[in-house]
Symmetry: C2
Subunit: 580 residues, 2 copies
Amino acid sequence: MAAEGSRISILCFFTTLLCFSLQTSEAKVRHYKWEVKYEFKSPDCYRKLVITINGGTPGPTIIAQQNDTVVVDVKNSLGTENLAIHWHGIRQIGSPWADGTEGVTQCPVLPGDTFRYKFVVDRPGTYLYHAHYGMQRESGLYGSIRVSVPTGESEPFAYDYDRSIILNDWYHKTPYEQAAGLSAKPFVWVGEPQSLLIHGKGRFNCSTPGLGLEPATCNNTNPECSPYTMTVVPGKTYRLRIGSLTALSALSFQIDGHNMTVVEADGHYVDPFVVQTLYIYSGETYSVLIRTDQNPTRNYWIATNVVGRNRTTPPGIGVLNYYPNHPKRSPPPINLPSAPIWDDRRPRVEQSRAIRARPGHVHDPPRSSDRVIVTLNTQNEIDGFRRWSVNNVSFNLPHTPYLIGLKHKLLHTFSQIPPPEDYDRARFDVTSRARNSNPNATVGDGVYRLKFGSTVDLILQNGNTMVPNNSETHPWHLHGHDFWVLGYGEGEFDPKRDPKGYNLVDPIMKNTVPVHPYGWTALRFKADNPGVWMFHCHIESHFYMGMGVVFEEGIEMVGDLPAAIGGCGETKGLKLHGKP
Amino acid sequence: MAAEGSRISILCFFTTLLCFSLQTSEAKVRHYKWEVKYEFKSPDCYRKLVITINGGTPGPTIIAQQNDTVVVDVKNSLGTENLAIHWHGIRQIGSPWADGTEGVTQCPVLPGDTFRYKFVVDRPGTYLYHAHYGMQRESGLYGSIRVSVPTGESEPFAYDYDRSIILNDWYHKTPYEQAAGLSAKPFVWVGEPQSLLIHGKGRFNCSTPGLGLEPATCNNTNPECSPYTMTVVPGKTYRLRIGSLTALSALSFQIDGHNMTVVEADGHYVDPFVVQTLYIYSGETYSVLIRTDQNPTRNYWIATNVVGRNRTTPPGIGVLNYYPNHPKRSPPPINLPSAPIWDDRRPRVEQSRAIRARPGHVHDPPRSSDRVIVTLNTQNEIDGFRRWSVNNVSFNLPHTPYLIGLKHKLLHTFSQIPPPEDYDRARFDVTSRARNSNPNATVGDGVYRLKFGSTVDLILQNGNTMVPNNSETHPWHLHGHDFWVLGYGEGEFDPKRDPKGYNLVDPIMKNTVPVHPYGWTALRFKADNPGVWMFHCHIESHFYMGMGVVFEEGIEMVGDLPAAIGGCGETKGLKLHGKP
């Protein structure tokens, strides 16, 4: 029966591939040529070295239609630093080597080399791309992907204009400086960001007392850091595609005087609901519709704030400019939306629960799962180093990428001990508000090997950090798949009781989802995409400190790997035959 | 006759290898394990991220005896940055893949990987090691190599104690920031260094007006930047092995009240001469003898200053501590040696001319050469980018290292057009003091292919830069060889007249030599070391901007290349069979 299931799964996979090829017969190839390098920029008025793509950060927005093939030739001109770019939300069906996850799906791209990423965008929606190598994303290497429905088809909602906005938090220290602190004994935390950026523009106060910043270093009149301004015409409907690629911060997003109707999340249509404040976590995307139906004789504030942390970062501020008002005309100061209470997680949990699939666009989840993996995230100290762990194992990337190691059976390149399926309930009381002081975590690079075609439940379990009475929000991102979001809960997940409350009727599918403080989140996915896939906290420093796991499924079905993904660890001298 | 000469050369080569193996029968293996990472340090009181080896900068001094095998296992823990380490002055006979020149002899070492450098130190003397990748050396990745004569043998001079000192200049900007400026349009020059370091210790004035530095960033009482102190006992002779690894600066070195007798240069014995001021250029090493015969009741200043540039950098200061005076007891301020006049090059040229081989230790140079390559260095602009060129070609490294490209006949990986043997005398008047405004330089990566065993003369020709009435000192370093220094001259080298004045009697052999402003330097070397070898200006930014050339000789005699040097460019998937 199991063997038959497996055969059926393989059949389904190839049938899907076939249908897919048929569907793409009219699809286009979208070819981009990017040069990635370091340049001095002042995104928030403070001049620092950032990583640009073709001279900008954020990089160019990739615009394509469903089933198009996107080809991006990335030239690394970073001098002495490697890179890898992940196409966040793109499942890479049939192209697992193009996922851009350094250490998992490829060796990094060396300076001087040009790497070809080639993949099909098989679903319409709002996606992101960003560096997936150390904490390189924080240097500014990121952008948007906008996939529209094929010509002749239409979305299940109407709008006149389409705009992309990426939210980000911004640090003045380099990822090198931050990493040195995170890896030091004693540990030095990265701290709160200096500013919030709305599509690459923010504002740091150059007159901050005690800093003595020269105008050459920080200049609030620099046009590079003029506020983000979106010009709109009155009486229209705008689709705003909002993504977050913060290094750390959970954010609120508000537009003075304008309601937002949430219609899409991570590439899936949402049963529409209206908010004044949108909460968004790193790695998430939302489409909201706004109607420019307010008093057209003035402009309106756009504001984003840190939530979930006791913020020291000022709001990120932009302007919704009603044409023909002058774009530099400030809205009334009194109308600046006030920030949500930072530690009131109720509205954030409510939003999480409100996101359900749009009627008529529900992907039915399997009724049950073949395997349940409970992942408790904890803060730990290992040999005096501060780490994050999952079920008491803190993740380290091996030096040979898993995709190559598994496909070519270099099984000595990583631990063959699978990570735990659950946490030790005798040792961890996730309902405790006391400091988690477990010192016995270990470092590991083992992999969860999933039966191809099986259904897997992931239960994200949160608890207290190493600070008493503190639990953090973690946005978890799954590569290569969308998952169904079956439910959220408070306290300890009960494997007997809680699954009975799962939403199997209209769960949204997403690729990134928060686990709220002291809570749990239940996800389900089909292990039906041959490859090796990361699942990790999207907070840059948390991932750096070990907060992630790896799944393998159907490795034997993966095609020939392209030579370009090799070159590191034990892949030197390994002949790879595939094409990107 | 030529064929016979070639056969004899090959015979000599293998005989040498054989003798060499016999000689090394008693030699030891010196095994080092290094971890290279970023850490915060305050070498000159200003706290910044530096690259350390096993926690320090400079790194450990390698101490070995002639004919020992040195094995250094280098683990790259730099996160997202590669590395390569060059063993400066070690000829790498039989191990050209261990020269550590990124892009020439190896691909860079990736983060997470451990690379084994294994080579024989076949001559006693004072050598250096340092990063040879982009401008990474400036981050602090460098150290000394001290090779003593075999047990039972003695040097041709006597001394009681042996000490190593590396001089360096120090910038507060990172190499990434500097490189971004050098590569920008318009060009941003790196400027003068913030301080000079004596063996990793310097002093930046933390109260410099206008900087408003917090004590956490800059603290003049930090013990990390206490002055370099060398404790000596009175009445003894000390051998000081002084090396310079400055990014930019030519330096003077003085010890208050103590003459220095120069006895070694770049691993060769010098006919001794006495100086009060030693001039030293980046990449050079000298051994000097000092006698601690001064008033033993006080300490003495050690001072180093920038020469050849209109310095803004304060002197680097250390203390020669006569035991039992307290090491922190300052010498009298009035005794601080005054800096030489920066633009008086007469004493520097005199020192260059004074360096001759010690009688009884002269290596006779060939009486004539088979080929003469004249290399004029010029500043240029190419497409609006500021560059340095050699005979009007500005050097760029290819993406596939030459050693692999040549050995495996991947001849499409670099230009097959050989660089020019001479400069265009009709176009360049090297005696002119006018701005060099030649806009027609090109970028290239062609190679000088040398007949194995042939004798090659290199004539370094200097001229005016792009600033009127300005010519700079460039220290040129040859990998894989020592060269004979046949002569120095003013103005334009005359190929008919000047060779008649060559010193063929007792020329010193060196690996690094300056070409003085508006002058020329004549070198001769035997192309008898199978491999591919860089010859370049040792100023970090000049090399970055194209001031170098590459020589190939006897590539067909190079043994199997180790797999570890591959992984970049077209070496991906190339099976390399050798061992380090």
